[in-house]
């Protein structure tokens, strides 16, 4: 009996030792791996304002300057310019003040929710909206409507091109046809608007989406405009017919990845593409799906009667590989046409049913990913940190300048005094900053 007990004790001791060694090995490996993780060092620049939010409103213009539209929900959108030569960021316009909404008790122009676009002369265009901004307690009908804007960098003058419609919403994504001088945008209920810049007339081209509309549209080299709608479908505005038609072609789509809410599962934004850009070199569009694990795809609208879709890679954070709780995609997606690269800053927040799903406010490490169009390879650029070692969190805007510099807009760790928000779970003080990544280019 005693002999048996002794044998048992010995076995237990051995097991404990093995477990201890295994645990130590795993811990050491993890620490080693963490210590070895490559960092992606970026420069960050403060915005002079205190806007806490942004969605897609970032554009690096052909003159090298970087324009940002930031959002104060329930307040005003603000338009900024960053001059890389001077290294200076300025607030150009308080939009609600510019259009005379301040001091009127009306719902204001709180949002610039589009990536600004540029015409051949270097003028910058964007649009405003209020949807989702409220304030929730202010008369919905007081909102005068979304507006088209033109900014002339030479004179630094902003021009209000007028209401998209009286009391009508403003667009989320915006695209430009530089030949015909049309702006296109989709409002929150899914209506496609076209603004004729020459005649200054907005036309409603009909409903192309539904409530959870796609956040990216593009114009091809023939003036056709494309967007996506559920389930994994594509619509096309035909420039010759001046009407929008649904195509039967399907986007890459994995329905097994979680939708944005599972308490009331629905056909939502995860069936759309999240961001997309026209590549004038290859004459194709590169985009990222909203759900499905952030699939990078190429869409050639001229290959066949409805074009051809090609799935290229998954762009979600690498920690989600093989998982189903992948967050839906961010808007921090940019194509470097000249250097044949695609940059993407994925969300690090795992999808948890019932919890907040956006990348903003998440305090986990965020990475920058690059897809090399020359080698067709996904490249991990590393953990985002600024030159002071501050952590960079969620990003929702990206654009590449003429010299190949990547600009992102996102939440960066800051001092409590400068914070406009805190990360949700970890209470780290954060603020929106312009994030500058200078890649090593061959």
């Amino acid at each position: 009996m005693e002999k048996n007990m002794s044998a048992h004790r010995k076995t237990a001791k051995n097991i404990s030792l093995i477990l201890l060694l295994t645990f130590s090995f795993i811990s050491c490996t993890a620490l080693y791996a963490a210590g070895e993780e490559k960092s992606c060092i970026v420069k960050t620049v403060d915005y002079p304002g205190k806007d806490p939010t942004m969605w897609d409103g970032l554009y690096a213009a052909s003159d090298g300057k970087v324009y940002t539209g930031l959002i104060t929900e329930g307040g005003s959108a603000h338009f900024y310019v960053y001059d890389p030569v001077k290294g200076a960021q300025r607030m150009l316009f308080d939009i609600a003040g510019f259009v005379g909404e301040r001091g009127t008790g009306r719902r204001p122009s709180s949002k610039i929710h589009c990536r600004p676009v540029e015409d051949k002369d270097g003028n910058i265009y964007f649009a405003t909206l209020n949807n989702g901004s409220g304030p929730a307690g202010v008369d919905f009908t007081s909102w005068m409507g979304g507006r088209w804007f033109k900014y002339d960098p030479k004179t630094e003058k902003l021009e209000d091109l007028g209401l998209i419609g009286y009391n009508e919403d403003g667009p989320y994504p915006v695209a430009i046809d530089r030949e015909r001088m049309y702006l296109f945008g989709i409002g929150f209920t899914g209506y496609l608007f076209r603004f004729d810049l020459k005649n200054r007339v907005t036309k409603n081209l009909g409903n192309v989406g539904q409530a959870d509309i796609c956040r990216g549209i593009f114009c091809d080299d023939e003036g056709n405009v494309y967007g996506s709608f559920p389930v994994a479908r594509v619509w096309k505005y035909d420039a010759k017919k001046e009407k929008a038609y649904d195509l039967s072609i399907r986007m890459p789509y994995d329905p097994s990845i979680f939708p944005t809410r599972l308490n009331d599962p629905g056909i939502d934004r995860t069936c759309d593409w999240r961001s997309i850009q026209w590549d004038p070199v290859e004459k194709v569009a590169y985009g990222v799906t909203c759900g499905s694990g952030s699939i990078l795809f190429k869409y050639d609208p001229h290959d066949g009667p409805e074009g051809k879709m090609t799935e290229l890679a998954k762009l979600c954070d690498k920690k989600f590989f093989g998982r189903k709780d992948i967050p839906y995609s961010t808007l921090a997606f940019a194509l470097d046409v000249k250097n044949r690269r695609i940059y993407y800053a994925p969300s690090a927040r795992p999808y948890t049913p019932g919890n907040y799903v956006e990348t903003f406010g998440n305090g986990e490490p965020h990475h920058l990913v690059m897809y090399d169009l020359k080698t067709n390879q996904r490249v991990e650029l590393g953990l985002l940190k600024d030159t002071e070692g501050r952590r960079v969190f969620g990003c929702e805007g990206a654009s590449v300048g003429p010299d190949g510099t990547l600009y992102l807009c996102g939440q960066v760790e800051t001092t409590p005094e400068k914070a406009t928000r805190h990360t949700r779970e970890t209470n780290i003080p954060i603020a929106l900053k312009l994030i500058i990544y200078k890649p090593q280019l061959n």
């Binding site: 409002g187 409530a211 009407k243």
Partner: protein, 465 residues
């Protein structure tokens, strides 16, 4: 104390915001429906998707009727007009063919006593055309009947306005937006030969399968008013008479089925006004209703008064009953609304909706009109129908992209409106759809309410009360 008050205020504000954020409506991206049992709302595609459904930009449903065979027939507007049916027996909609060279069927489907369907066609009412800024543009024709215009202005405007108008004619561009609008509308219709009246025989044609570009099997009965669309139709099946309104000239016409003859009875409205809310439309009544007991055909006319065509005297007679309107007591403003839609109850009482968004009842026996009120601030009752439960179902709201249409009921027993909100269908992950624009409704024989969506991409909505 002041600090305490401030804290209470901040607490209340934060509580309100948190409540708002936590509410299902917020979480659902602003989608608001008040229908508690969403399984009672569904949609049907207008054909087999991507094979023979009615194509985009041609599928806005602008006419619906319940036929005596129990099927629902619909007409669409857009690039091409289509006829379709929904057969409850097979629970599907399919189209019955394209109507050659026609773009719209607006409030213009009626059934005769033999079960044949009559279709009135026209241009697409939703097609936008360019509006001029300073009178006729290059390539446009000056289509203003200047003598008549002078007469209207002499009757309605002060001397100085008249003087300015006379000055403006042909000298420095037209000064009056209404004249420019009217000229634009007339130019838009000047090369249009006119909407046709067609006859469709369900007995011989319902069984035919049509692909997208195949034509509907129709008998062409002719054009009642040249250069005009057919804007609305009504029928007296016993008398075999069809009644119609035209757009933009607002002519009231009749069609004698047996004699196969049209008759133009003249303008329904002597004035040309643009009461809105649409900026490209002349304000004309958009529906007609026939009281089969008397044979009278009711609509609205000059100054927004209820008018009727009297078959006995063969005249259009105005009543002293005015279509409910939002009246603005301003100078230089001719202020009246038009009828948007009518629906008859089994008792013979007629319900109507006005372009300013009022529901009213009209008793043709007593010649009594009761303003039942407005279900919402927005203008227009887009369509209505009387349900088998006696309630009036209506869709109200302008053709706005941000303040979209909503479904309401009016209960004649209790009085008052019930706001059912947006028509939202959610059969995720298979399909989901939110209806924003509707321009036709009908009640099925089993009481199902059918609503015709009028969009670039449209569906037939079903609501089971």
């Amino acid at each position: 104390m002041a600090d305490f008050g401030k804290k209470v205020f901040i607490f209340c504000l934060v509580s309100c915001l948190l409540t708002a954020i936590a509410s299902p409506a917020f979480a659902r991206g602003g989608t608001k429906t008040n229908i508690k049992q969403l399984q009672r709302v569904d949609v049907r595609d207008l054909g087999y998707p991507m094979v023979n459904e009615i194509p985009n930009n041609s599928c806005a449903i602008t006419s619906l009727i319940t036929a005596s065979n129990g099927k629902i027939y619909g007409g669409t507007s857009g690039e091409y007009a289509y006829l379709f049916l929904f057969d409850p027996a097979i629970n599907k909609a399919r189209h019955l063919g394209r109507i050659k060279d026609q773009q719209g069927i607006h409030h213009s489907l009626v059934e005769d006593s033999k079960g044949c369907i009559y279709i009135g066609t026209g241009k697409d009412v939703w097609e936008e055309f360019e509006l001029s800024k300073y009178g006729p543009r290059p390539g446009q024709t000056d289509m203003m009947p200047w003598d008549d215009v002078m007469k209207i202005f002499e009757e309605n405007y002060s001397d100085h306005v008249l003087y300015e108008m006379k000055l403006s004619k042909g000298v420095m561009g037209w000064q009056y937006i209404d004249m420019i609008l009217w000229n634009d509308i007339k130019n838009y219709f000047k090369d249009y030969p006119g909407g046709h009246l067609y006859r469709y025989n369900p007995k011989t044609s319902d069984s035919k399968v049509k692909l997208q570009e195949m034509d509907c099997e129709l008998e062409d009965l002719g054009v009642p008013v040249p250069n005009n669309s057919i804007y609305a139709l009504a029928i007296n099946p016993q008398k075999e008479m069809i009644y119609g309104l035209s757009y933009p000239d607002g002519r009231f016409f009749t069609y004698d089925i047996a004699a196969k003859k049209f008759k133009d009875m003249g303008p329904i409205d002597e004035k040309i006004i643009f009461h809105g809310p649409e900026r490209q439309w002349r304000s004309l009544p958009r529906d007609l209703v026939c009281d089969t007991a008397t044979g009278r055909v009711y609509t609205s006319g000059t100054d927004g008064m209820i008018v009727y065509y009297c078959p006995d005297s063969n005249k259009i007679i105005s009543t002293d009953l005015k279509v409910p309107a939002d009246e603005y007591h301003a100078q230089s403003y001719i202020d009246y609304a038009v009828v948007d839609c009518f629906a008859k109850s089994p008792s013979g009482l007629i319900y109507g909706g006005s372009s300013d968004g009022y529901l009213f009842s009209f008793d043709p026996q007593r010649m009594e009109l009761v303003n039942l009120g407005k279900p919402r601030v927005s203008r227009r009752i887009r369509c209505l129908t009387v349900g088998n439960d006696g309630k009036v179902y209506m869709i109200a709201g302008e053709r706005s992209t941000s303040r979209v249409c909503q479904l309401y009921t009016y209960d004649p027993q209790k009085g008052g409106f019930e706001d059912l909100g947006l028509l939202v269908v959610d059969r995720s992950p298979y399909y989901s759809w939110r209806g924003y624009q509707f321009d036709s409704m009908t009640t099925g024989s089993d009481g199902t309410i059918y609503c015709g969506e009028s969009e670039r991409r449209s569906h037939l909505f079903l609501y089971i009360p």
